[in-house]
Structures are given as structure tokens and as C-alpha cells.
């Protein structure tokens, strides 16, 4: 399926979405498509919101963000995220903030079709004061108090992976993050892949997502850029550094988005323009 069609069919205004990726395999191309289609009022989940969420927030797609660490890794702040939180631009952003442990457990519980997750967490921190989702639960056997959070069960999960076969079975490897959990926790899952191959040739116990668990599989080479795809291309660190000044000002941000996303038909055109302009 073409990514444009997948997003059009499965992503609607007002839904909750997880575009996951823990540094690795971040679904940038899919995020661009959601921006291009003008989706609004989204609730976004993500452990580590970075550039693609910064872009979605800055372009006004997002009403609420549930997250545990938001930054440009190794570079600094997410300026669009901060502008939304600090100045309400382009619109106020409701945030619900967790620790990584809480989010990881919440995805795990979502994949397991449980309404909540139990874990040892949030001892002595201020998160509970600002996040009513964080509660305590007593062990029925020992009386011990543990933390709990509601599970994450997004309307749509979007991930990027290395390969799919022609039936649409997906293989990913390397740092796999919470991607499997996000896919299995969601009602629908869209997967972009670097390459469609004849045979996945997966190792025993490799992470394979069977075709029947996925709503759409779309071939989008370089679709994780500037993140990386293990075995295909490295993380484009210079891009992350160069993003900082672009995102710092509203105008330069909007200009960039106009040229590289809004004025492009698809990610292929984005890629061509990035090449043309010497960015990749």
C-alpha cells in the first residue's frame, strides 16, 4: 500500500497515535505524511518525542502529548515542543508526563490487552502531582504498594522497520524499543519498511510481526531519516545538529516544513529536495 493511502485510510482527526522508535527506526516519512494530510487534534504517545514530533507539534497537528523524554538527543531542546508548552504556539499543548519505565510498562500492558500496568516506580518524585494517571496499588499477597498507570492502547501505531516480505510480514532488528508493543497495543498499525524482499530469512526467535497483525505495510526507503535503519544507513547526526537553528524560530521552521514536506507529493520528493539542497 502507498503510504499516502495508508495514512488517509487509518489516521483520522482526533485520534490517539503512537509513532514509536527508540532513536532507531523512527518513522519520519510517515510523520511527514500525517502532517501533509493536515491531521488535527491528535493525541500523541511516545517515550522519546524528537524531531518528527517537534514537526507535528509545530505544524499544529497535536492537542496532547503523552511522553517520558522530549529532546533532540545529543543536541538540546525541541524548540517547537517548548514553544507550544511555554507560549502556546501554534496552539496550547496538553502534556501528560511519565518516566520511561511507566511508558514501557504501559505499552506492554496495552499489547497484553490489560487495562493497567503495575511496576516499581515513581518513588518520591513529583510526577504524581501533575499526572493524575499515576496511582498506587497494593499487592493482594504482600500488601506492598506499587505504582500503576493506565495501559497505552492507541488508535493507530506507526513504526518503521527494515524489511517486509511480499505477504507483508515485517522483520526488524537491532534496537527494537517498544515497537512490537505499540503495534500489538494499537487498533491499527501502519509499518513503513526500507525494503520489500522475497524472503525475510529471519533468525529463529527474530522479531517478526505477522502480516495479519498489520493494517498497512508501505515500502519507503530512507523512511527513518534522519534516524537510522540498522543494516541500511547510519544516524544522520549532522541533520540533528542542523535542525536546532531551523526549529528555533517559527519562520525558519515553517519555511523548512513548506519546502521539504508541504510542497512535496511524498517522501520520495522530500528526499530528492534534501539531496538537491545538499542536506543528504
Amino acid at each position: 500500500m502507498h503510504l499516502e493511502e495508508a495514512v488517509r485510510r487509518f489516521v483520522k482527526d482526533g485520534q490517539s497515535l503512537s509513532l514509536e522508535g527508540f532513536t532507531h527506526l523512527i518513522p519520519h516519512a510517515a510523520g511527514h505524511e500525517i502532517i501533509r494530510q493536515g491531521r488535527r487534534d491528535l493525541t500523541l504517545y511516545r517515550m522519546t518525542p524528537d524531531l518528527i514530533y517537534d514537526q507535528m507539534i509545530g505544524m499544529g497537528c497535536v492537542r496532547k502529548l503523552v511522553f517520558s523524554w522530549g529532546g533532540n538527543p545529543g543536541v538540546g531542546s525541541l524548540h517547537r515542543f517548548r514553544d507550544a508548552v511555554e507560549q502556546g504556539w501554534p496552539q496550547p499543548l496538553e502534556i501528560r508526563e511519565h518516566s520511561h519505565a511507566a511508558m514501557a510498562n504501559a505499552y506492554e500492558a496495552g499489547a497484553a490487552n490489560l487495562p493497567f500496568a503495575v511496576f516499581r516506580g515513581y518513588l518520591g518524585t513529583d510526577h504524581q502531582k501533575h499526572n493524575p494517571d499515576i496511582r498506587r496499588i497494593a499487592c493482594p499477597y504482600t500488601g506492598e504498594e506499587l505504582a500503576c498507570v493506565p495501559s497505552i492502547r492507541p488508535d493507530v501505531a506507526v513504526i518503521h522497520a527494515q524489511q517486509a516480505d511480499r505477504e507483508g510480514n515485517v522483520l526488524l532488528w537491532g534496537i527494537v524499543g517498544v515497537q512490537k508493543e505499540a503495534v500489538l497495543a494499537a487498533r491499527h498499525a501502519i509499518v513503513t519498511v526500507e525494503e520489500i524482499v522475497d524472503d525475510l530469512d529471519a533468525a529463529p526467535n527474530a522479531m517478526v510481526l505477522p502480516a495479519w497483525t498489520l493494517a498497512a505495510v508501505c515500502e519507503v526507503p530512507n523512511g527513518a531519516h534522519p534516524s537510522y535503519a540498522h543494516g541500511y544507513y547510519k544516524r544522520h547526526n549532522r541533520f540533528y545538529t542542523q535542525w536546532d537553528p531551523v526549529a528555533r524560530e517559527r519562520d525558519s521552521f515553517r519555511d523548512w516544513m513548506q519546502r521539504y514536506v508541504m510542497d512535496c507529493r511524498d517522501f520520495g520528493e522530500t528526499w530528492s529536495r534534501l539531496q538537491e539542497d545538499g542536506h543528504v
Binding site: F22, T23, V85, E108, G124, E145, I175, G177, V178
Partner: protein, 265 residues
């Protein structure tokens, strides 16, 4: 190993406070320690230790990489280098459930934006939560690293803006009054390594107390760069200067790292 006297002579001839800080931090990590490593300064110190005196230290990053031996320092917590050189890579839920919460970590090694005298850490906001002056990245793995690791080391450059009387937000728990009555599995912050010296919790009060100064640093400097009335231990030790080997390995590591990360796709 090079001759210590010669090494010292070389070393004294010139090293930065940041280098001293990384070296001092690296020395705290014993061989075979299982260390949950934060990105940035903790990662630099942990890998330096691994390259010098702790070749069998087990470095774990929250991205799921276990027993990783990166040749260059990762820029992000999930760089491919960490996966390539790991003993094994697990999912993030497994990392937080089986490995951190599972009680498998000896030392949690953290950075911070702000810290208070009890070792409580803020990496969330400066100013009111709902109308922050500065929105920081947030918790990441820190809240549970701080409580589930056997003990915690923190590495942070000393300044009145970072070493504060009161935190606007407690992102992860230290020792002291806040910890009272909480069933925390780990011992909490046991070392705070700065560019001036080392602070450790007072055996009775739990307050972070200056116990060591790096060569050239003074108690006055340390006090001036601390936002609370810094307590100083009766017996204040001096950190040994970096050895030639330590500096050489650290500089080579940082050079390799800079070269690797300047690269394009």
C-alpha cells in the same frame, strides 16, 4: 601500565576540569560492576573505566543494549554502535522490567540538570510546572534508575544554578527526608562527582557533603558554586591527578567520537 611518577608529571602538565571530572568518575566503577549508564557524561566516564581498569564492567543502556562495548561514545541513547557491540539487545519493556526493576543493576550512573543537597534530581522544568520558565526534556529512565539500582552515582558540573537549595520539580529521588518511609530497593545517590570534587552522603544526616577535592580546587570555590550551605567533611581527601594513561585513553575516545559523529549519513 606506564610509570606512575612519569605519568603524573605528564598529566599535571595540562588537563581540564572536565577531564578530571570524567577521570574521577571513571575510577569509581569497579571491574565486573553492572552499570546502567545515562547518556553524556555518565557514558563517557563508564566507557573510560571499561577501557582502563574495568574491562569486565557490564554497561547497560536503557535502549536495551546489554554488555555493550562501544568504540566511540554514543550521541544518543540508542546509537547503532551500542547494538553492534552489545552482548545482547532486548526490548525496552524487557529492559525496564527484567533488568532494572529485576534488581540486576549494581550502579545507576546519572546526569542531571539540577540537584539538591539530598541528591534529588530535576530534569523536568525550571519554574512552575504549568508555566515553566524552561521546559527540560523530562524524566527518561531516571526515576526508576534512581530507586532500583543498588546505588547511584551522579556526575554534574558544579554551579549555583545546578546545585540548588530547592528543586522546582523532583524528577528522581535522592536520599534524606524525602526518602524516609519509602520502600526503596536501592541505596540511592552515593557519589556526586563534579568538576571540583566529590560529594558523598553524610553517614548520619544523608546530606551530600564534600569529601574530596580535585587538585587545584578549593573549598571556597566549591562553596561558591553550590546553591546551598555546602557541608565539608572533616577529612577531605585530594583526588589523584589523571594519569597519562587515563588522559590518553580519554582523549583518544573523545577524538574518535568527534570524528565518528561529524560524519554524514
Amino acid at each position: 601500565m606506564s610509570d606512575p611518577a612519569r605519568a603524573d608529571a605528564q598529566a599535571v602538565s595540562g588537563y581540564s576540569a572536565d577531564e578530571m571530572m570524567s577521570v574521577a568518575a571513571s575510577r569509581l566503577l569497579d571491574d565486573r560492576t553492572v552499570c546502567f549508564v545515562g547518556i553524556g557524561l555518565p557514558s563517557e566516564a563508564a566507557n573510560l573505566a571499561r577501557l582502563i581498569h574495568a574491562p569486565n564492567a557490564v554497561l547497560i543502556y536503557e535502549s536495551g543494549t546489554i554488555g555493550t562495548r562501544p568504540d566511540v561514545l554514543p550521541l544518543s541513547i540508542g546509537d547503532g554502535e551500542l547494538a553492534d557491540t552489545a552482548r545482547t539487545v532486548v526490548s525496552v519493556p524487557e529492559m525496564f522490567r527484567y533488568w532494572l526493576q529485576g534488581g540486576r543493576i549494581d550502579v545507576g550512573f546519572l546526569g542531571a540538570a539540577q540537584i539538591d543537597r539530598w541528591g534529588n534530581i530535576n530534569t523536568t522544568v525550571i519554574g512552575p510546572y504549568d508555566k515553566p520558565r524552561t521546559r527540560l526534556p523530562g524524566a527518561g529512565g531516571a526515576p526508576e534508575i534512581a530507586t532500583s539500582s543498588g546505588r547511584v552515582y551522579v556526575i554534574l558540573r558544579q554551579s549555583p544554578r545546578a546545585f540548588v537549595e530547592e528543586l522546582d520539580f523532583v524528577t528522581s529521588l535522592g536520599g534524606g527526608p524525602r526518602r524516609q518511609g519509602l520502600a526503596v530497593p536501592g541505596a540511592g545517590p552515593q557519589k556526586l562527582i563534579t568538576d571540583l570534587g566529590i560529594l558523598e552522603p553524610h553517614p548520619e544526616t544523608g546530606e551530600l557533603t564534600l569529601t574530596a577535592l580535585h587538585p587545584g580546587a578549593t573549598v571556597e570555590q566549591a562553596k561558591a558554586k553550590t546553591g546551598w550551605a555546602l557541608q565539608v567533611a572533616d577529612r577531605l581527601t585530594e583526588t589523584p591527578v589523571p594519569s597519562a594513561q587515563e588522559l590518553e585513553v580519554l582523549r583518544a575516545l573523545k577524538k574518535r567520537t568527534a570524528e565518528a559523529h561529524s560524519g554524514d549519513v
